[in-house]
């Protein structure tokens, strides 16, 4: 009674899969190598040769040159990758296990690191002379003196501004909860992997959220202050957007790490998907969710301050104004108040999180 379906050869299947995987990894390794070589040549040419050796002020740039370098690095990368002595193949775990192969990739990695460090030094224009010059130190002295003698005349204005900041952060955090909840379920792999169409949703949402999250709240604030006008509203939306994206990731990771046992048990009773989520998933994630959200409020208060600097309202905007007028005593008071509030928020949120566990 054997049916053709029974012709399963798991061993062969696995072997074939492994070979395919290896091919893909080799391609990745070679791409990595090409990138490394390209990067090394570019840094050598532009930072070391032009800047240090020729000491040019304006660096010449031409696309033809870049493309030429790319072609050269592609050739080197491919040959090097195939020889399996390159850094890329070592990173992907495909490198030859001989002493010389290991040495070559290690030396190359070390060279890359040093090139990067030197280029970084040149780019940031590090100069000890500036740090310890006479005028420099005098200027710093003046500011520090002012900061440590704060002007209490603006205390009530600053207090209102900082309360605005705290509320702004609170509202952004609260409003983020419902959309975050929904998105976190839709981006939890274990809930979405069963059907190809739910998996597509999962994938698309993950990409979008990653993108949104990779843009800092500060930049969102700039975007929204153009969109809805400068002020607390723009700051709030900026925080909201970033909070949703950041917390959806944390929440969905919490969902992915739940115990599978209760899910099996509830599914076995004949419950549908929503019932399974409500009975087997939700009870396991309420505490982590609460904890993330409270922590996020704390983070948002800090971020709201920074966002204020670009016109997101609250204490940050006030700080920016006094800084622009070089009224350092007022700035001093504001900085002290911000430090105090951040410290308190940190303490409170830690205490709440401790007590719910």
């Amino acid at each position: 009674m054997l049916d053709p379906e029974l012709e399963i050869h798991p061993k062969e299947k696995i072997l074939r899969k492994r070979k395919n995987q290896e091919k893909i990894n080799l391609i990745k390794a070679i791409l990595l190598d090409i990138f490394f070589v390209f990067y090394a040549i570019l840094v050598l040419q532009r930072a070391i040769y032009y800047k240090v050796i020729l000491d040019l002020r304006e660096l010449p740039f031409s696309w033809a040159e870049v493309i030429l370098i790319l072609i050269i690095s592609a050739a080197i990368g491919i040959i090097w990758g195939y020889s399996r002595t390159s850094l890329g193949t070592r990173i992907m775990g495909l490198g030859k296990e001989t002493k010389s192969a290991r040495l070559i990739s290690e030396i190359f990695a070390w060279t890359l690191f040093n090139l990067t460090f030197i280029a970084g030094w040149l780019v940031t224009k590090i100069s000890l002379i500036d740090l310890f010059s006479k005028e420099g130190i005098e200027g710093a002295n003046r500011i520090f003196h002012a900061l440590f003698t704060p002007e209490f005349g603006i205390f009530d204005d600053a207090l209102f501004a900082i309360i605005e900041t705290i509320y702004l952060a609170l509202i952004a955090t609260l409003l983020s909860i419902p959309p975050t909840l929904i998105l976190s379920f839709l981006t939890a792999r274990n809930l979405m992997k069963d059907h190809w169409y739910t998996f597509m949703i999962y994938y698309a949402l993950r990409i979008i959220l990653n993108f949104v999250r990779s843009i800092e709240p500060l930049i969102w604030a700039i975007i929204f202050s153009v969109w809805v006008g400068i002020g607390p509203y723009a700051g709030m939306i900026a925080l909201l957007v970033h909070t949703i994206a950041a917390n959806a990731k944390l929440y969905s990771e919490a969902i992915e790490s739940i115990e599978e046992g209760p899910v099996d048990a509830i599914e076995a009773t004949g419950a549908n998907k929503l019932q399974v989520i409500w009975y087997a998933v939700v009870p396991q994630i309420v505490l982590p969710f609460l904890s993330f959200t409270i922590y996020r409020w704390d983070i948002n208060v800090r971020m709201a301050t920074v966002i204020g600097l670009v016109g997101g309202g609250g204490i940050g905007t006030m700080l920016m104004q006094y800084q622009g007028l070089a009224q350092w005593h007022e700035v001093g008071l504001i900085v002290i108040m911000i430090a105090f509030v951040v410290w308190i928020m940190d303490y409170i949120s830690a205490k709440i999180r401790e007590s719910i566990y």
């Binding site: 054997l2 798991p10 046992g261 048990a265 599914e267 009773t269 419950a271 019932q275």
Partner: protein
């Protein structure tokens, strides 16, 4: 054994995505009213077999029939309807830890409920009565309002049994239900399964490790070895020779009373 067949498994294969061939052509019948025990070494495929019966795992090939109906590939509502008739109890109890005992037991009724009322926790009064009755059957009525994770292992397993009874199951699958309990508690839990089997007439398929328990409770035994059935018979037929064949030459029987 001329009674009705409740589960019919034919040529069942299960290959996990990792490549493990966990079941290699298993065929068996489960008869109404029996207490069938599945034994076998760790990794022999016992859990996989049970999960293929209520389709928590997808069979790779072969067929599973429940009450004459082919359920190998059914989906959605149809699958959920079949599952409501099959209770399952697990080694790790798998209760909802943060909920109280009564809510855990009521969860057994989810398959019969509409989504919205069940999520609101709106169980009809007769459901709650039934839950209390089932808690009474397993002797832990007085713990109804305790949080589930406050209970001992044995008590949690009794809650799990009460939960499965809410389904008024025709078949009860038990996956090593006493493997994480001490011997005395194991025995008392097994007695509840016996009670469910004899008094409520529920067919039981149970994975077990200890032969002393098998001899005491099973009406029939199947032994799995690396995904294949190597023994099928009555408990007392498992002698020294069979034992060595099922568990390997090195094995020695331990007594659990």
């Amino acid at each position: 054994m001329s009674s009705n067949v409740i589960v019919e498994v034919r040529n069942l294969h299960k290959v996990y995505p990792s490549g493990t061939h966990a079941l290699k052509g298993v065929s068996l019948n489960v008869y109404e009213g029996e207490f069938l025990v599945v034994i076998g070494l760790s990794g022999s495929g016992k859990t996989t077999l049970l999960k293929c019966i209520n389709r928590l795992e997808e069979p790779t090939a072969g067929t599973v029939k429940f009450l004459g109906k082919d359920i190998t590939h059914i989906k959605g509502k149809e699958l959920r309807e079949v599952r409501t008739h099959i209770g399952m109890v697990f080694q790790q109890f798998n209760l909802i830890k943060r909920m109280n005992v009564l809510s855990n037991v009521l969860a057994g009724k989810l398959g019969y409920m509409k989504t919205l009322p069940s999520i609101m926790g709106n169980f009809p009064p007769q459901c709650i009565q039934e839950a209390m009755k089932n808690l009474d059957i397993v002797g832990i009525k007085e713990y109804a309002y305790e949080r589930a994770d406050k209970l001992s292992g044995g008590q949690q397993q009794r809650v799990a049994i009460a939960r499965s009874l809410m389904q008024s199951p025709k078949l009860l699958l038990a996956d090593e239900p006493v493997a994480s309990l001490d011997p005395a508690t194991s025995n008392s839990i097994m007695q509840y399964f016996e009670k469910v089997n004899k008094e409520l007439g529920v067919t039981v398929v149970c994975n077990l490790h200890f032969l002393s328990l098998v001899r005491r409770y099973a009406t029939r035994v199947i032994a799995l070895k690396s995904g294949e059935i190597v023994f099928e018979g009555l408990p007392h037929e498992i002698d020294e020779a069979w034992f060595k064949k099922i568990y390997g030459e090195e094995a020695e029987e331990v007594e659990i009373r």
